[in-house]
Symmetry: D2
Subunit: 350 residues, 4 copies
Amino acid sequence: MTTPIGIAVVGAGYWGPNLVRNFQGSPAFRLRWLCDLDVERARRVLGGYSTVQVTADLDEVLADPEVQAVAIATPAGTHLPVALAALRAGKHVLVEKPLAATYEEGRQLVEEADRRGLTLMCDHTYCYTPAVLRIRELLRSGELGELHFLDSVRINLGLVQRDIDVVWDLAPHDLSILDFVLPDAVRPVAVAAHGADGIGAGRACVAYLTLELSNGAIAHIHVNWLSPVKIRTTIVGGSKRTLVWDDLNPSQRVAIYDRGVDVASPEELGDEQRRDILVSYRSGDMVAPALTEREALRTMVDEYARAITSGEPALTDGRSGLRVLEILQAASRSLAEGGTMIKLDEGHMA
Amino acid sequence: MTTPIGIAVVGAGYWGPNLVRNFQGSPAFRLRWLCDLDVERARRVLGGYSTVQVTADLDEVLADPEVQAVAIATPAGTHLPVALAALRAGKHVLVEKPLAATYEEGRQLVEEADRRGLTLMCDHTYCYTPAVLRIRELLRSGELGELHFLDSVRINLGLVQRDIDVVWDLAPHDLSILDFVLPDAVRPVAVAAHGADGIGAGRACVAYLTLELSNGAIAHIHVNWLSPVKIRTTIVGGSKRTLVWDDLNPSQRVAIYDRGVDVASPEELGDEQRRDILVSYRSGDMVAPALTEREALRTMVDEYARAITSGEPALTDGRSGLRVLEILQAASRSLAEGGTMIKLDEGHMA
Amino acid sequence: MTTPIGIAVVGAGYWGPNLVRNFQGSPAFRLRWLCDLDVERARRVLGGYSTVQVTADLDEVLADPEVQAVAIATPAGTHLPVALAALRAGKHVLVEKPLAATYEEGRQLVEEADRRGLTLMCDHTYCYTPAVLRIRELLRSGELGELHFLDSVRINLGLVQRDIDVVWDLAPHDLSILDFVLPDAVRPVAVAAHGADGIGAGRACVAYLTLELSNGAIAHIHVNWLSPVKIRTTIVGGSKRTLVWDDLNPSQRVAIYDRGVDVASPEELGDEQRRDILVSYRSGDMVAPALTEREALRTMVDEYARAITSGEPALTDGRSGLRVLEILQAASRSLAEGGTMIKLDEGHMA
Amino acid sequence: MTTPIGIAVVGAGYWGPNLVRNFQGSPAFRLRWLCDLDVERARRVLGGYSTVQVTADLDEVLADPEVQAVAIATPAGTHLPVALAALRAGKHVLVEKPLAATYEEGRQLVEEADRRGLTLMCDHTYCYTPAVLRIRELLRSGELGELHFLDSVRINLGLVQRDIDVVWDLAPHDLSILDFVLPDAVRPVAVAAHGADGIGAGRACVAYLTLELSNGAIAHIHVNWLSPVKIRTTIVGGSKRTLVWDDLNPSQRVAIYDRGVDVASPEELGDEQRRDILVSYRSGDMVAPALTEREALRTMVDEYARAITSGEPALTDGRSGLRVLEILQAASRSLAEGGTMIKLDEGHMA
């Protein structure tokens, strides 16, 4: 076994403790520091029995030669300076989603990491759930057939955030999943967003994103901070099978339906009038595959180690974080313009 | 007890048998005829033990002086001529949703009925479910507070129709419910629609409607013919309580959550920076009220009798059918224009 | 097509209307009479548009030469005289469950039908649901492996009956299903029953039946009139697969789990101490087969026609009704004796 | 704040890590030692960043004057010697359920703790869930009315244990909950057990316990290692309300139904024949109270601290552990005797 990678976690707020726990649990890493402006908070996160060092001084962390990598879980607005400092200190960087506060800032990070040959990874945690890994496999291998629609609902009573609306808070999950599971040939080409601020919070608390995909399919995302019922369900409709992922049903998270609508191919079609009899139902079985119950963060941490060690891009590398930012930014523009469909222009960095 | 109203059902296809059964079961009506171009089909619907008369000739029905009212369950494209003929013959008219194939046709029906002082009612069946009646009561009485959002999902494997897309097939249910439960002061003012035709059926099989309401709230409808899982869930988010109606959960169709997000009123707010601490959760109880399990069609039939007898408009009268048609038509235009938000202009007939 | 079998339904109470509707819907039968001591009730059941004859006089029905068969849905206490009269009049007989009020009465019916070569069938409706037909097929074909346990829960707010306790009211369903799905080689050999009369109704309102099966497996039935939640779930645990039938989940009534516990065969076992490592999990997929949604009563009616026409015993013939009665009677004895395990003695008539 | 209580956890197997985590998280305790015969296993449990001491030598732990209390999570067969040694060393003792391997052994522990004036507590974790605490409150305060029945199902694919059957493995949860929620005046008076060993494991893998309560009510427990579906549902039927606890439904763990069956009081009853009309339904609302989501073990740890500090018995003290053992032992006897109802004799130590 090789020497573990020295790692520091920056940020001891909501997400930091999860990173601390998982890096401590991974033999590939050795956690050196937990860094937070509020040192007491960092101490509380580690608890009273820990040998991990605590500091409020990022420079102290970055100056430590035993630290080869950092994991940043600070507010999005600080991702650029913190990550840039780390990259410039020669450290590999993992950033909590979203990659940065704007597309432009995200691009700076990607370019800096490229320039220095360092790993830049975005912690799109959901991509590493056993369910999403399976969806990716089924969709990219063609087992579901061609994608027709993807519908994602992520609603709950959520903390109304000071800086960001519900789109920037929750949709990164769905957008990163979409980016992760789509076959390479299929890409989002436009997005429209509708939202409402029912409670006078000054920002959208309920929002709907509609994405046009390059193959003519549609993806739709419902994010909502005001729902007393919690729903996290994604339907992936394919030409062969349709998959339903219910993240709140541990005994049956993924269900694959061999049911659907069959349409005769165009050349078989006589005339328009007979169309209705050429559409028929398949009423097939449903299979709920056995999935492992591995914690997604553990798999994400492994992937970070793999990317650092191999020098290859992580599955959710900086570029994937950038693609998500581009859509978020376009969605914000659409929201401001009352729902206009905004074209995406992925060309620039891909 | 007064003499029952003589009624004829026109159309023995998908919906006609339900009307036949419910008019037969109602003491307020006496079913005289079942009329269908396919007499054999009409006979099959009645079964081998019935005393009800069958005919393919609408004129024969309309000429029968014992028939005071008709119920029309023919394809939408025929609603205008059939209903017009019935009104001109002096019969009260109930029409299956949608009221007509176009807003213009619907308007002709409303005007004709007005002119003749006859009842024109639209069979918006869902409005007569115990659940929707309760939602109407709770929302209009203010028990839920002001409406923030309404989210409706109606998806299933559905028959891909020859003439109409999924919006015209399924959204009339949700739009009529919305029309029914909204307080009088709150009205839809604009609609945008996005859709996709994944299977090459020549019309949208998946669609999303977003409605702006006059109080700033949002209503959203997801209709889908391609989903192997059946979902019929509506969330009604109010400022005081949020209600979830799950039509597929007979043991708990309606759940009212006294949970939510509290925002301090603007005058209490110091500065923007403290906003996040001024939003707090209420984590209250949920109540699932005991609802009767009465068949909606039975209640609808009673309402038809009440409207005929009293001369008052039915709860779902021709005008409500017209309001639904206006939104459907605007949604179609939005769909054709790639999702533009289309203003509604309710003024003309209300 | 052959001439339909003339049939009369006797009893227009709770169950009779379902029989009326299904015999009317079947081309194999021609419904001649609905007979009930309360003629008005019978008229209400048929409704105001029916050509079927009504009478309070069973003799009039039995004297009608166009009646070849009867279906009896009167209280259990009257099954013996009504069915006996019908058999003696040369009519085939279908009896609502339970076959009779006692085992001895049921035996008289079986013997009378045997003597006269007439069909005697028990309306064990649940046996004809698509789910139970599938369970029977899977269990008898060996696809589930050897039966280890069967656990059935049938609870709801139920009408507290005047004459019978919850065991006689509800357990016939579960016992007839058990009788129906078991492989021929496996039979119940003993039963114990525990119950309670929480509400002072004078009879058990909650009861648990435990059956020992001839292969060492266990079957357990929970019936309950006092539960505000409705549960109808049966788990069939086999050595290869385990099946769960949730009758209240229309989208997934039957689920077959390829999960379980593997035990090494005895000869492979070293010593007792290593047993714990010889038991391992299989964490396989779950399959929910597509089932038709045919009404069970329709299939039951078809089976009645098949039995009458072919002269072969119905799948749920008098003997199966008798086996259920034997267990019910033994359960009552066990209940009275505080839960003693009562041996069953199936030999006498099988 | 007072000085934290020095604590040692003994046993680093399945349950030990949970105790370690919760004692570390509690300000009332200071974790001094983790003791396990397998020191490497103990080290793995603590992880590579811990300051807690590890040892295989119980005597070393008991000799440490900074240790005032121990928590024992070793196999049940070792509870007696380990706990006895700890008590004799003057330490307070918390024991994982069951209290001991036999009633006799459990009694020795209770007596030893009594003699020395030390706290002896049994870790009946489920009793400290917010749901069970609420059930206790509702049942003991009379809000549910008098108890009619309690039905508990705890089934899942479970590890077939080497030493114990499914009754000893799982039923302690249900029996301790029963003991915890019952009003003082209502006690189990007899128990019968039925079981089966479908897979040839040499011990019952499926079992049903029926308990007679002193007020005539019935309690029933289904425990099962062979079920591929996981169910953890308890129904508490009272004369006023019925409560359903579904531990696997985080959004609605407890539901209280104001529905039920009303029976007229005996004096109002005319004669037996009219009984059926004197039983009527109440079809009231259901309320799902908002429960906190506090980890049960955290509350249990607090209660241990409270008991030690105050010198008062813990809510789940040694005596409650003993009452559970008495029932387990009687259930085993019943199982061996084929289901005989075994009288309980609570008198001896209560």
